[in-house]
């Protein structure tokens, strides 16, 4: 049992707090997805139990990257539904660290020749991992009515 929960229950048993106060304190201890739970205030009879202990920030991490494509063509509708685990993306990013430096330089040269001002050698694996971590916040919705196509990219 969590130490904070034990303290709350002990205070309730000792009559130092009411059942309502205990319920609010226990609810404050519950982790909430994508939310910060904070409890501040004084509890009558409490002896130095820090309210800051109840502040928690829990963010659920996305597990999958989903790509949905729906389009209507002359021959009929086309749907593409792809779900890729985020772990696979992270592992693929680590694979990039195995590319030799000479290959990076050749790629940079080729990209600059084609007008893409990108220096791959300066992109570190940790940058890419951070990028993948933030993919959880990404949502792309494209609705091209003229082409009768819809594209959705999101993390779940």
């Amino acid at each position: 049992m969590n130490e904070n929960r034990r303290q709350i229950l002990e205070m309730l048993a000792a009559g130092k707090i009411t059942a309502d106060e205990a319920d609010r304190l226990l609810a404050a201890l519950e982790p909430e997805p994508v939310a910060t739970a904070n409890f501040t205030g004084n509890i009558a009879g409490s002896k130095g139990w820090s309210a800051n202990d109840s502040s928690t920030t829990v963010k659920t991490h996305a597990k999958y990257l989903r790509v949905l494509v729906e389009s209507t063509e002359k021959n009929g509708p086309t749907t593409v539904n792809v779900r890729v685990p985020m772990q696979l993306l992270r592992a693929g990013v680590r694979l990039a660290s195995l590319i030799p430096q000479q290959a990076h330089d050749q790629l940079d040269e080729t990209l600059s020749k084609h007008g893409v001002p990108l220096t791959l050698s300066q992109i570190k694996p940790e940058n890419l991992e951070e990028l993948i971590d933030h993919l959880g916040d990404l949502t792309v919705d494209v609705d091209a009515k003229e082409e009768k196509a819809k594209v959705r990219v999101f993390c779940e």
Binding site: Y64, N75, P77, V82, P85, R90, A91, R94, S97, Q101
Partner: protein, 90 residues
């Protein structure tokens, strides 16, 4: 953990394949034997990669293992022109 089962289904207007549930252990065992046979060559390749990139050989193996392990949960479904392809890795 490496994937255990793959589900495969292919349909088109002229051909319909029943949904196959493939136990991937039937693939991993022969693959493991093949890797064992090719282990001297693989050892040289891994060492060459690690020397070229300054990355430890164990890390090289770990990266490939991570890619294999993270395939679980991959789900690809494509439907077009009366054809349907389904691939799931579990």
């Amino acid at each position: 953990m490496i994937p255990n089962i793959a589900v495969l289904e292919i349909q088109n207007p002229h051909f319909r394949m029943p949904r196959l549930w493939i136990p991937l252990i039937l693939l991993w065992i022969p693959l493991a034997l093949l890797l064992l046979l090719l282990s001297p060559v693989l050892f040289i390749v891994v060492c060459a990669i690690s020397i070229a990139n300054g990355v430890g050989p164990l890390r090289v193996v770990r990266i490939f293992w991570d890619i294999l392990s993270s395939l679980r949960g991959t789900d690809v479904r494509v439907t077009s022109n009366g054809s349907k392809v389904l691939v799931r890795i579990m």
